[in-house]
């Protein structure tokens, strides 16, 4: 079950729930090894070889290919304005922006916003459920894994890939570029985190949860009700009280 109760408030997970931890740690280790052999060297190469305009174009392309899903999910979340904005971005960037390689929509004042089906579920109050480290993809949870599956099915590009060789090439190409760009974008930070952390797995797990909370709130500050409740077992008030004893 994804959650015990659904409410109208967007879901905010306040503590890690990881009943599959032993398995997750193994997958995390295997992902790390695969990354070290394949994606990490590719990203290092890309970082050092590709000129900045190429990187900017790739980043735009990767965002643009996601816009139909952003629009679809904004609509499902009852936000037609955002759905229209994402759709507008897609049309503008795919045409004037030359297949999405240029983000002209941002210059026109329509900023990018990512919306996926995991966020849509959370919007209707569904919590993350158990943490899951997916093979190759990495940190996720039951809700967001469901979201990935739904987004896969809902993605027009995956329907197209079944019927057209061009769409299939575009699909695989975009997947490869997304992986490369994403790894490149996180390379310094993850290196730093891996070096500084004592338990890299646990640090990533916490950051994933908080990052999803932020995306679900669309970047808005946490409401006062959620602020005092970071953890069911121990929050700042508890710490202050403990220190004053």
């Amino acid at each position: 079950m994804l959650t015990a109760c659904a409410s109208t408030e967007p879901a905010q997970d306040t503590s890690d729930y990881d009943p599959l931890e032993p398995v997750n740690r193994v997958v995390h280790g295997v992902n790390g090894a695969v990354d070290f052999m394949v994606l990490y060297p590719a990203a290092m190469w890309y970082r050092d070889i590709a000129p900045q305009p190429v990187k900017t174009s790739v980043a735009s392309f990767v965002r643009n290919i996601n816009e139909p899903l952003n629009s679809f999910n904004a609509l499902l979340q009852g936000d037609p304005d955002q759905a229209a904005a994402s759709f507008q971005r897609f049309i503008m960037n795919s045409t004037i922006g030359l297949l999405g390689f240029n983000d002209v929509a941002t210059d026109f004042g329509i900023p990018y916003r990512r919306e996926d089906f995991g966020q849509t579920l959370a919007h209707y109050g569904i919590g993350g459920g158990p943490y899951i480290v997916l093979p190759l993809i990495g940190p996720s949870n039951l809700r967001d894994t469901t979201g990935i599956a739904v987004d896969y099915v809902a993605n027009p590009l995956t329907w197209g890939a079944e019927n057209s060789d061009t769409a299939e090439a575009l699909y695989w190409g975009s997947l490869g570029l997304t992986a490369l760009h994403t790894r490149y974008a996180t390379i310094n930070q993850l290196n730093e985190l891996q070096k500084s952390s004592i338990d890299y797995y646990a640090a990533l797990r916490s950051l994933y949860r908080q990052q999803r909370n932020t995306l679900i709130r669309n970047g808005a500050p946490a409401p006062a009700s959620a602020v005092e409740d970071e953890s069911a077992s121990f929050d700042f008030d508890d710490a202050v009280e403990a220190a004053s004893q």
């Binding site: 503590s15 890690d16 997916l134 993809i137 990495g138 940190p139 996720s140 967001d144 990935i148 997947l175 997304t178 992986a179 994403t182 790894r183 974008a185 996180t186 310094n188 930070q189 993850l190 730093e192 985190l193 500084s196 952390s197 004592i198 338990d199 797995y201 646990a202 640090a203 990533l204 797990r205 916490s206 950051l207 994933y208 908080q210 990052q211 999803r212 909370n213 932020t214 995306l215 709130r217 970047g219 500050p221 946490a222 006062a224 602020v227 005092e228 970071e230 953890s231 077992s233 121990f234 700042f236 008030d237 508890d238 710490a239 202050v240 403990a242 220190a243």
Partner: protein, 212 residues
């Protein structure tokens, strides 16, 4: 694809050090708000003062790394309520150790953070630190700020502050919605849990990292 969900948090980890420096001159908080709080120094003023001080003390390129770390630690001493932060990052395990041990842990924690972040100040070049509004939520005052970079979007940093003996002290820092305190607590309590609830395993790991 899901990997980019951790991109911003990871970036934030790096940005924290940078956030503590910068030129705190850009905007000032509305003085009306300050007056309402009815305290000599507003929470936002404390952040500005700290940022100015960090800028002066930590960005000097000629500084030796260990001296920079020492200065970083003394800044934390002055502006953070370390007793609360230390207990928070230990979660419920603070109960399993003595007050003496908590004090020792606090020193280790500060040195660990200095090790991870102090060196970021070396690479300062053209960034600006802008302090914005304060918001009161329950018992805490949240001070918004931005770290403005010449090459990239600004990074939003929120300082969580609470009043202790008539002055505001920092108890948490959030960068792009990611709380450093919560991240550290989740990591540290995991380390303790993995070692049969023994806080000693965590302090040993911190000692190994910091060389203390």
């Amino acid at each position: 694809m899901a990997n980019n969900k951790i991109a911003i948090p990871a970036a934030a980890m790096i940005a924290i050090a940078a956030a503590w420096s910068g030129h705190a001159s850009a905007t000032s908080l509305s003085s009306d708000v300050v007056a309402e709080v009815a305290v000599e120094t507003s929470a936002a003023d404390v952040i500005k003062t700290m940022a100015d001080q960090a800028m002066v003390e930590l960005t000097d390129h000629t500084l030796a790394d260990d001296v920079r770390r020492e200065k970083f630690v003394s800044l934390m001493d002055r502006y953070f309520e370390m007793d609360v932060v230390s207990r928070f990052v230990l979660g419920r395990y603070w109960r399993t150790i003595s007050n003496q041990e908590i004090e020792e842990f606090s020193v280790l924690l500060q040195n660990y953070l200095a090790l991870n972040y102090a060196n970021q100040f070396k690479e300062f070049n053209g960034e600006q630190f802008v302090v914005g509004d304060e918001t009161q939520k329950n018992k805490d005052t949240f001070v918004d700020s931005q770290f403005v970079r010449p090459d990239g979007p600004p990074i939003n940093i929120v300082w969580r502050m609470r009043m202790f003996d008539d002055s505001y002290k920092i108890i948490d820092v959030s960068i792009e919605g990611l709380s450093m305190g919560i991240t550290q607590r989740d990591e540290f309590t995991s380390v303790i849990q993995q070692n049969n609830d023994d806080v000693g395993a965590l302090t040993a790991a911190l000692k190994a990292k910091t060389g203390l």
